[in-house]
């Protein structure tokens, strides 16, 4: 009977085994379908796989299994090196310290049932595949991207690393800087970070290093590239260093772009404009070939961090347990080491004509700098972009720099009769609204953010346009307009603003107006001063009208003399405070984000439109308005100022 029984037992076992296998396969399929994890049921030498990493299906935080519980169970196999449990996933990824432990764990725990709270959970364990260029663990690689592993041998790698001379580089860069940012060196042509392009007319002496020639020949031989590259950029990344996401400038280089990784492996992230993202492991000694979409459309970057989540088990990887998951389903932690990349490119001589114009600087017209408006509509648009929206963005920072009321403005306000009604048109952060508590002061400004600051300070203020103030005529005993009218972009609008102030005044009421002066360095030596301004005298509005082409507005350099009356003045925003979707001017000289340069996040720069007034210009403007009299005019703190009175008989 015994053999019979044994047979029966054997049959039953194999039935159970088959059932287990079926369930395990089903679990594997689920993992592949939903998580992109591909598994193998047992290790085989056909795959380059990790023999120490397993996926534990149904053993996840996402389905109620705790780390502590799982750790204990997995411990039955042997020492667990890393255990990754994503907060929301129904599986875990375990890497054992040795292959033997992994095998034991697999055998003991595959099909194991766990009691988790009031439910029973069945664990299925499978070995996990690594990423290779053909069958990526997660999503499909970006189109045009090819990864060739073991492109150079260990000896060749050593030769190449040796050939790069960092000494001359380090003489220029301080040690501290080198620690913060990756090191970069160029051969063939200098890559310029101010315009993200190469100086095509100025090749660097020496060309590409002799030691690299064999690499290039191999690339040509293997049909990765047709023409030998003529530009090389070497990047060296320490653990914790990276490079922001970017697309290599279309007009600078052809395709493909070849990148040889030496030293430690890393993870490079590719992102499509629609948000899709793929993480690609770049092993040491591999060649990355970027063509088509992967070169022209997807951005690539390396996140600055010290650990990556990669599938292949690295004997050097530390005992670090984490539940952090990148947006790709990699499995274990790999500590970053020093990586050196050699990026070979062909300098482009003709404009780029790729199929991705949205990312192409040859095919996209650069944003044209604004020009002086010649119609009301243009003027409104210019001011909306270069005045109103800027103040909305910089309000907080701007307000913090506007805290000291100017003495002569205070004097004007303090000399008013108690009970006077005063309007501050263009009140900003309300700096002047509280100067004289004896008067009733109201402020209005175009910027909601600034008016809100006034309100928070307990002042009466509302949002309105300086050209259309919703107050009744003849109601104000006094008005002030401090550093406001110079933001209006046509002479007609500037005059209209003064007329609006006059409308608000009661007969006999007075207005104080301050505008930025063209002449910043005003001194008592009139003749010399006048001579200087005459030399610099820019075309005034009259000449402006006779020109055929619109006058482009130039960007002023802060803290220097004005060399034009109509210009854009930069504001460097500090301390955050920037709203989402803030519009940063494209005219900034600071390098944009998509650069390979080791630059810290640039401070956002905004441009504000100004028409700075010449001496006498403000008085001339007031003289054109009927029913007003200029009481006095003076220069104060780099401004031209007038006090005008609304005459009693109009």
């Amino acid at each position: 009977m015994e053999p019979c029984l044994e047979n029966v037992k054997a049959i039953r076992r194999s039935k159970e085994e088959k059932k287990l296998l079926r369930k395990q396969i089903k679990a594997s399929h689920t993992l592949l379908k939903h998580e992109g994890i591909s598994t193998v049921s047992k290790p085989t030498k056909d795959y380059i796989i990790s023999l120490q990493s397993l996926v534990v299906a149904n053993g996840g935080l996402g389905n109620g299994v705790s780390r502590e519980q799982l750790q204990v169970v997995l411990g039955e196999g042997g020492d667990v090196e890393t255990l990754i449990m994503h907060p929301h996933k129904p599986y875990a990824l375990v890497t054992y310290r040795t292959e033997v432990s992994a095998q034991r764990g697999h055998v003991l725990l595959n099909g194991r049932q766990l009691q988790c709270g009031d439910q029973v959970v069945t664990l299925y364990l499978s070995y996990v595949d690594t990423v290779d260029s053909e069958s990526g663990v997660c999503a499909v690689l970006p189109p045009g991207l090819v990864l060739v592993e073991e492109f150079v041998s260990l000896e060749e790698e050593a030769l190449l690393l040796d050939a790069i001379d960092w000494k001359s580089h380090d003489e220029e860069v301080t040690v501290q800087k080198a620690l913060k940012h990756r090191r970069v060196k160029h051969y063939g042509y200098e890559f310029r970070y101010d315009n993200n392009n190469v100086d095509k007319d100025k090749p660097l002496p020496g060309g590409l290093p002799q030691a690299c020639v064999f690499v290039l020949e191999r690339c040509v031989r293997d049909r990765h590239v047709k023409v030998m590259p003529d530009q090389l950029t070497v990047n060296q990344y320490q653990a914790g260093q990276g490079i922001p996401p970017h697309v290599d400038t279309h007009s600078a280089f052809e395709e493909p772009i070849l990148s040889l990784s030496l030293g430690a492996k890393t993870v490079m992230d590719f992102r499509h404009p629609d948000g899709r993202s793929v993480a690609v492991v770049l092993p040491g000694r591999s060649l990355l070939v970027m063509k088509g979409e992967s070169r022209y459309l997807w951005t690539h970057g390396i996140t600055p961090r010290k650990f990556d989540v990669v599938p292949a088990c690295d004997p050097e990887s530390p005992v670090a347990v984490t539940s952090d998951f990148s947006n790709h389903s990699n499995l274990t932690l790999s500590r970053r080491g020093t990586r050196t990349s050699l990026t070979f490119r062909n300098v482009r001589r003709t404009p780029c004509d790729c199929a991705h114009p949205s990312a192409c600087d040859s095919q996209q017209a650069p944003p044209s700098p604004p020009s002086l408006p010649r119609s009301q509509t243009d003027a409104c648009r210019l001011e909306a972009e270069y005045v109103h929206s800027v103040y909305e963005e910089i309000a907080g920072h701007f307000s913090s720099t506007r805290h000291s009321p100017w003495p002569r403005v205070c004097h004007f306000l303090s000399s008013l009769e108690p009970g006077s009604i005063v309007a501050d048109v263009g009140c900003g952060n309300g700096k002047y609204l509280g100067v004289n508590p004896e008067v009733f002061a109201m402020g209005c400004d175009r910027s909601c953010a600034l008016v809100q600051i006034c309100s928070e300070r307990g002042f009466q203020a509302f949002v309105s346009d300086a050209l259309s103030v919703p107050l009744r005529s003849d109601i104000c005993d006094a008005c002030i307009s401090i550093a406001v009218i110079h933001h209006l972009s046509t002479q007609e609008r500037r005059q209209a603003a003064v007329e609006e102030l006059v409308r608000l005044l009661r007969p006999g009421g007075r207005a104080l107006i301050y505008v930025w002066a063209l002449e910043q360095e005003y001194n008592k030596q009139r003749s010399k001063y006048l001579k200087e301004t005459r030399e610099q005298a820019p075309p005034d509005d009259h000449n402006q009208e006779t020109r055929d082409s619109p006058v482009k507005l130039s960007v002023h350099t802060n803290r220097t003399a004005f060399n034009s009356q109509d210009l854009l003045v930069p504001w460097h925003l500090k301390d955050g405070g920037i709203k989402k979707g803030g519009r940063v001017s494209k005219m900034t000289k600071d390098p944009p984000i998509d650069t390979k340069s080791p630059v810290l996040a640039p401070c956002p720069v905004f441009h504000r439109f100004y028409h700075v007034f010449q001496q006498g210009e403000l008085e001339e403007l007031c003289a054109r308005i009927t029913g007003v009299m200029v009481q006095c005019s003076y220069h104060d703190q780099g401004n031209w100022c007038v006090i005008l009175e609304k005459t009693r008989d109009r």
Partner: protein, 116 residues
Amino acid sequence: MCICILYLNVLSRISGSQATEVKVSEVEFNPNFVSRMIPKLEWSALVQAADGLGHLQDLPTELIADYEANEDFLRKVHRVLLEVEVLEGCLQCPESGREFPITRGVPNMLLNEEEA
């Protein structure tokens, strides 16, 4: 935004301000100040809006003579003018019906490009 603004406003003939949030705070009484404000106001409009806000109380519907010397009267005006604040609501122009919102005490009186 205190009612003062309303009555200096071009929309001073508003039919009613729809205030959803009104705050009353204490402001130092300055009789001279209030006296000087009164001639600038449209009295009937002030009364109307105060009533609309539910803060008319005992404010006279007609401006009394010799108000400068009448401290009691001035105090009533002071309360309505400076102590009653509209925090949330809107101003409506009686002619066009156009509404201007008041948010966190701040009225937004901007007109669109087409309206200006």
